[in-house]
């Protein structure tokens, strides 16, 4: 009797455990589209770094970037910077969406944005402008 119950339990455990394990997100998941977006962001980063360092742009708490001080940017360069920020934010939004999709959970996009927002700020060099959890902008 006990053996039968044990076998039944084992069978159901083996069926359900892998299904439950899939509920954990793999943020490091890679796909061709994710690789393309990461490369695009990495290519743009050296251009954006001086703008971060001059506090012209900053990191938002939801994993995006934002123009902080337009006056710090030369008027002839302003349009270019706006385009760079727009492009970067599009890539970032796509990255979070694609990671959520690759995990089979598009509904995790908001959680991913928040998590990446925290980690971007954590990994950013000292002195960059960051938006804290209360929505206040400050120098890291």
């Amino acid at each position: 009797m006990n053996k039968i119950l044990f076998v039944i339990g084992l069978v159901f455990y083996s069926i359900y455990t892998p299904a439950m394990a899939q509920t954990e997100a793999n943020l490091g998941i890679d796909s061709p589209s994710i690789a393309v977006i990461k490369k695009s962001l990495a290519t743009r980063m050296p251009i954006l770094k001086p703008l971060f360092e001059s506090h012209s742009i900053g990191l938002t708490r939801d994993g995006l970037i934002q123009i902080m001080k337009p006056d710090n940017i030369h008027p002839t360069e302003r349009r270019n910077v706006e385009m760079l920020v727009d492009d970067d934010n599009k890539d970032r939004a796509t990255l979070y969406r694609e990671i959520a999709r690759a995990n089979g959970r598009p509904d995790w996009e908001a959680d991913l944005k928040r998590t990446f927002g925290e980690r971007w700020i954590n990994r950013a060099p000292t002195g960059w402008m960051i938006e804290d959890a209360a929505g206040v902008w400050k120098k890291k």
Partner: protein, 67 residues
């Protein structure tokens, strides 16, 4: 006896299903693992190489000698 086994199996399946549903809704992922994985993605974008293991001055010198 068979009826008891059947009831037991049904209870087990129900419990596991509920646990699965609950984990889908409540648990997004283990926070520490998520942070580590996100850091790897961010470091790739920042162009920060992951730390190399077992690279000592002795190993580097041997490589140089071989070349």
């Amino acid at each position: 006896m068979k009826q008891k086994i059947l009831i037991g199996a049904c209870c087990f399946v129900s419990a596991m299903t509920l646990a699965g549903c609950a984990s889908d809704v409540i648990i997004f992922y283990p926070k520490a693992d998520a942070a580590k994985a996100a850091d790897t993605v961010i470091d790739d974008i920042f162009g920060i190489a992951p730390p190399q293991k077992n690279v000592t001055p002795a190993n580097v010198n041997q490589e140089t000698v071989k070349k």
